[in-house]
């Protein structure tokens, strides 16, 4: 059986700011969706078969959030489901909706309205195992610091290596109009910055941002019938593995390694990480970018050289644009989409669900 090819025909966004106090979550989603539908020339009330929203109740502050999301993305009284994970998983679900024949057109939305959460640390800490981790007084930054220390020693990654990545991504952010955290930063600035939990410094962790991203995803048959341009999804994969503190790997992110393997299998091609013109990789913590890149099969020399030459996260990544929780995956897709639309080629997108998870997804895109 020949499976359908799947492409992205429109992508829209709203926000990408540290805080958006003047609009509600729903109004933000509506604007992002309106832009995506205009770009894809679709009427969501007629043309879209299924809708997927990536959202997590604790970040929203109400349960059954899925009941509250259809209206603002054109999905009132239409099939909609939520995916409580990073939005790469939402795209993976859309991909399956189309390949299974269930849908021709699927919409995926993800957002962050994280400035509305007053006690962010408490929401983060609810992700910790309740009986022996949470009550031991550990928080997610402590876990990150422990992992960072272990990783740097195990993978021979130095403080200077991390600094170089942060400095470049912050500078890339300045060149990206939608990135709020772009800045000219020196290694001395990082060195003298606040220490969160040794060895984790303030600049090692991406700051939060608010925004919504909506992608319109369709089958190749539908795209050709409408005579639209598309960025095609050649492969998609996702995986959850043991966290390092429960015995999982620390030198590289095993979940990314497995997800990349799955994505290559779906694509039917033996790509290496060097095959791509653009790599958008999770960098919500500086050391995680290295860990994720190692999991793609790159050596330390490859990564250090790639960082120097600006091969990764050309738009500034999360260091430049901010951490948008479930929308991080779609943000990286947006950056890759924009690049492929203008320059062509192929892009690799790597996302992670965040601390304390060992869950991630990989997407292979071609222009």
């Amino acid at each position: 059986m020949v499976l359908k090819r799947v492409g992205i025909v429109g992508i829209g966004y709203e926000g990408f700011r540290p805080s958006l106090p003047d609009i509600s979550t729903r109004e933000m989603m509506f604007m992002a969706a309106s832009r995506a539908y205009e770009m894809a020339s679709v009427d969501p009330r007629k043309d879209v078969d299924t809708f997927i929203c990536c959202t997590e109740d604790f970040w929203e502050g109400w349960s059954i959030t899925d009941e509250m999301v259809p209206d603002q993305i054109g999905a009132a009284q239409r099939p909609l489901c939520t995916v409580t994970s990073d939005s790469i998983n939402g795209i993976a679900n859309a991909f399956m909706h189309i390949q299974s024949g269930l849908s021709d057109v699927v919409v995926v939305e993800a957002h962050s309205k994280v400035a509305d959460v007053v006690t962010k640390e408490d929401v983060e800490n609810l992700g910790l195992e309740p009986l022996y981790l949470r009550t031991a007084g550990v928080d997610v930054d402590m876990l990150a610091a422990l992992e960072m220390d272990y990783f740097m020693r195990a993978a021979s990654v130095s403080r200077a290596n991390l600094d170089e990545l942060i400095v470049l991504e912050k500078r890339n952010g300045l060149k990206n109009q939608r990135a709020s955290y772009g800045m000219v930063l020196s290694r001395e600035d990082i060195d003298s910055s606040e220490s969160l939990v040794e060895p984790l410094k303030k600049y090692d962790r991406a700051e939060y941002a608010e925004g919504s991203v909506v992608a319109v995803i369709a089958s190749e048959d539908w795209i050709k019938k409408r005579k639209l341009d598309a960025i095609y999804i050649e492969g998609v994969g996702w995986s959850s593995t043991l966290p390092w503190y429960d015995g999982g790997m620390v030198e590289k992110a095993e979940y990314v390694e497995r997800a990349f393997k799955m994505a290559r299998k779906v694509a039917g091609k033996s790509y290496t990480a060097k095959s791509f013109d653009r790599v958008e990789v999770d960098d919500t913590y500086s050391y995680k970018a290295f860990q994720h890149l190692f999991a793609l099969g790159l050596s330390k020399e490859d990564v250090v050289e790639g960082v120097k030459s600006g091969q990764f996260n050309k738009g500034g990544g999360s260091m430049g644009a901010g951490n948008m929780i479930e929308a991080n995956g779609l943000y990286r897709v947006l950056e890759a989409y924009t690049s492929l639309e203008n320059e062509g080629g192929q892009a690799l997108v790597v996302s992670w669900r965040g601390q304390p998870t060992a869950t991630g997804g990989v997407l292979i895109l071609s222009g």
């Binding site: 003047d22 309205k113 009986l131």
Partner: protein
Amino acid sequence: MSVRIKDYPGREVAIEELKERYVAKEYKAVLRYAWSSGVAIGSFLDGLKRGIILGRRCNKCRRILVPPRMYCEQCFRKTDSWVRVKDTGEVKTFSISYVNVDASRRREPIIVAVVELDGASKDVGILHILGEVKPEKVRIGMHVKAVWKKEEERKGAITDILYFKPR
């Protein structure tokens, strides 16, 4: 409580007893949110503080939405203009509740109702409570009017309307 039920059987388990006997580890999350009300609900709440009820009109389907939205979910387009609706309406549905929000029992019931406001579209209603009426007197279609808090006590919240009473 009701005509047939004068008391509840069994024994209510108190929170302290629940913790002592059944909970292995207690954890108290402090979850606090400060939601951005946005343009539509922000204006609606501001209107309540001023003693008026605002809706939004969609020029395509011609509905008037209360509480207001900046978009019409049926037409998927921005709504077009603000509309001031009356603080009177009729009861579309109601329920007489003998439980509080924490599931504890009430001896005096609370009457919750959906009120279709005069000036809003048919089947567009707001949820509130009824007052100054005995439960057995409430009827579907009953005409009601908002009873507002004193102006100086209003905070820009749905509770600036104390309740709806028969008119």
